[in-house]
Amino acid sequence: MEIKWYIGLSLALFCTGIVGVLTRRNSIIIFMCIELMLNAVNLLLVAFSKMHAATALGQANPNVVSDAQLFVFFIMVVAAAEVSVGLAIIVMLYRNTHSVDVNFLNRLKN
């Protein structure tokens, strides 16, 4: 496969996530669209690591390939921590306003 198809797929997933964040007002759906964007970036990182595996084969330092995949691993670690805190905030929001509409959050005061 050429790298351009993977770039196109990742871009399509990322832009779908962006459209979801911009158009939906349910805060849980917005949060899920952010997860979708994170996954698109992960897919692109793995695809680039395999592209470098094809071009940099037989070079002195073969570790450049596993670096990108470890970055993806750390992105997943941070995403897991982020989801737990974010969902706690959404539960708190629902408890205070009895809704998950983000338009109720248009002011920080009160």
Partner: protein, 167 residues
Amino acid sequence: MSITELLFWGLSVLALFSAIMVVTSKSPVHSILFLIVVFFAISGHYILMNAQFLAIVNIIVYAGAIMVLFLFVVMLMNLNAESEPKKNRLIQFAGLISGGCLFLVFISAITKSASANNLLQMGGGNFGLIKNLGMSLFKDYLIPFEISSVLFLSAMIGAVVIGKKES
């Protein structure tokens, strides 16, 4: 068309269709189930690229842990299609236009690129196996790995403090 290309296009169509359904479906539970389908399709892409460790971690962490957390929260709040806030057509149209413009700008940028036709190493290569990744993780990335445990601890404490009922 080889079997790898066939699998690539099938998984891509599945991922894109499910991603669009995540954004457009009315009920949050349906959105979550479609997002799980997206994660499985992306795991399939990882297996096609022989990144087996990431494929398994993606299924376990995302589809297994994070999406179950989302499902629990949605069921706890008893959200359904009727409680969906009513939408503004103009805002939706503007969001669609701006997302599409971003997509077109990116696409036109990569088609000019000289390395857009670089080939990927599909299937072969043992860099994505857990042995090599583990060696690299515990030799070169030991400090970030340990720091991530502190991050998890602080996230756990933060979630408990935020979610606690105020007395």
